[in-house]
């Protein structure tokens, strides 16, 4: 499976722009709470563990494991090429994010599979963080 050629692209706002700017620079950025240390995703004005406003954007390892997945055959919209693999990735730092898995076949996807982020430029402004088997 490969990156999609034509997807609806994110329109970053003041809260989410640091994440997307990071992707464009090849870094997987996430907010970390300076008061309690929790990594929080998606971007939020205050920490969801302790409601602190002291949130800092930090670079993460980009490594994790497939927490769950689904191979999609009926696309959300016709522009998507099927099949594509939607996954929840559990990151090393303990946070979860949705993405698509690439560089593997549908039957190779398993819960627990070690994966790493791989960035794919979708437009001048937007780079999307896909995941592939670790060390591929």
């Amino acid at each position: 499976m490969k990156p999609q050629r034509d997807t609806p692209l994110p329109r970053p706002n003041v809260l989410t722009r640091p994440h997307w700017d990071g992707c464009r620079e090849g870094k997987l950025m996430v907010q970390r709470c300076n008061d309690c240390g929790t990594h929080v995703f998606i971007p939020t004005p205050v920490c969801s563990s302790c409601m602190s406003s002291d949130m800092q954007w930090v670079e993460t390892s980009g490594k994790g494991r497939v927490y769950s997945f689904t191979t999609v055959w009926r696309p959300q919209r016709p522009e998507f090429e099927v099949p594509y693999s939607v996954a929840i990735v559990e990151m090393e730092e303990g946070w979860h994010m949705l993405s698509n898995l690439i560089d593997l076949e549908p039957e190779e996807v398993k819960v627990g599979l070690a994966v790493e982020v791989v960035f794919h430029a979708a437009s001048d402004e937007i780079t999307l963080p896909y995941f592939r088997p670790a060390g591929a």
Binding site: Q4, T7, P8, L9, P10, R11, P12, T16, F41, I42, Y67, S68, F69, T70, T71, V72, W73, R74, P75, Q76, R77, P78, F80, Y84, V86, I88, H96, M97, L98, S99, N100, P106, K110, V111, G112, A122, L128
Partner: protein, 384 residues
């Protein structure tokens, strides 16, 4: 313990309009008016007697203020929630004397026109979700796959749930999929949509309307109606659906808190439930609800639904009108229709083959783990 004032509120009227994949030649206003008239007639209430209103429509966005003119009434209470949350909101208003007769109605037609895309209400627009090609089937599939990986839940169990529900719809003359029998083998042989969900693991899209009227038990005694009583209810919510990743370990037991509250309010337990009008967007969701509500232990739902237990003649019959899979799934009216089906079943309004013998208690639910919420209510034939 003080008497729960919810127990002095009842459902006096229910009504379903015609339901269809597409309602040709019908507009949403006509549909909503039919839902309102039918509900008032079922309860034996005149339009001007309504003093609480919660009426909505999907496309034309008809609201309570507008329909007050149609009813010729001046409400002293308006509701804002829909489905079971709306029923409980209205019951609370009546229990606290803010209103005495609440009319709820909801309708949808003409909303799904671009068929190359999944239905508009299934597609999230959040920037961390949409670009990955998600929609509701994929969201609920992410919950199911995790459960299957951790507990070994099998596709055959999912297929049995779908087949049980669709078999009810196949013999319900009011169901959109009337006359379309379904076996577990049919489900497993249907094309894959979002693994593990085949086409027949997923609910349909359709059009239709529905209404429900609540009042006090005292008032219902003076009406020509068949009241059904509220034993308990509750919500269990986890924030923004189709935005946050649906992580099973965080949301997999959604509804447990609501079920515990509702059972406690009614002084009953899962074994007392005769009819399960559970929310059935996707087959696995029913397995999860039996676990979350305490009908069986976590991880055992796949075995629980086998051996005919959730069939119409089983111990815990599911979605006795055919549910969202085979009866109808229109706008937000379908959420209200879970409670309506519970009422119709307890009143003995279904054909004999779909009537649960001696049913006294029915449980209706809305939502699911993939949507990060589960609301529910329990109704009874006798006042608690």
């Amino acid at each position: 313990m003080a008497r729960n004032p919810l127990h002095d509120v009842c459902i006096a009227g229910v009504y379903n309009t015609q339901q269809a994949r597409v309602l040709e030649g019908v507009n949403e206003v006509e549909l909503l008016v039919d839902a309102m008239r039918g509900t008032l007639a079922d309860a034996g209430v005149a339009p001007h007697e309504v003093d609480g209103v919660n009426v909505r429509s999907a496309v034309w966005r008809i609201n309570a203020r507008e329909v007050s003119h149609w009813l010729g009434c001046s409400p002293k209470w308006n509701g804002g929630e829909f489905g079971i949350a709306g029923v409980l909101e209205a019951a609370g208003a009546i229990a606290t004397s803010q209103a005495s007769v609440v009319l709820m109605a909801d309708a949808q037609c003409g909303q799904y026109t671009e068929r190359a895309l999944t239905a508009p209400w299934t597609r999230p627009t959040n920037e961390f979700v949409e670009c990955w090609g998600l929609y509701t089937a994929a969201e609920f599939a992410l919950i199911a796959q995790r459960h299957m990986a951790v507990y070994g839940t099998r596709p055959e169990a999912l297929a049995e749930v779908s087949a049980a529900i669709r078999s009810n719809g196949a013999i319900n003359p009011d169901a959109v999929y009337y006359g379309r029998p379904c076996t577990p083998e049919d489900v497993l042989a249907s094309r894959m949509v979002a693994d593990p969900f085949h086409l027949l693991d997923c609910c349909m899209t359709s059009e239709g309307g529905a209404g429900l009227l609540l009042t006090t038990v005292e008032r219902a005694l003076d009406l020509d109606c068949e009241p059904i009583y509220i034993l308990g209810g509750g919500l269990d919510r986890f924030g923004m659906s189709y935005v946050m990743a649906p992580v099973y370990d965080k949301y997999g037991l959604a509804g447990r808190r609501a079920a515990q509250d509702a059972f406690e309010q009614g002084g009953i337990g899962p074994q007392d439930v005769d009819v399960c009008e559970f929310y059935d967007p996707f087959s696995f969701e029913l397995i999860r609800q039996f676990e979350a509500f305490g009908f069986c232990d976590e991880g055992e739902g796949g075995d629980f639904v086998m051996d005919g237990r959730v069939r119409i003649d089983g111990d815990f019959p599911l979605c006795t009108n055919g549910g969202l899979m085979a009866y109808s799934h229109a706008g937000t009216a379908q959420l209200l229709q879970k409670t309506i089906s519970a009422v119709l079943q307890l009143r003995g309004k279904y054909i004999p083959e779909l009537t649960v013998p001696n049913a006294k208690i029915a449980m209706a639910t809305n939502g699911g783990a993939g949507a990060l919420f589960t609301d529910l209510m329990i109704v009874g034939k006798e006042q608690p």
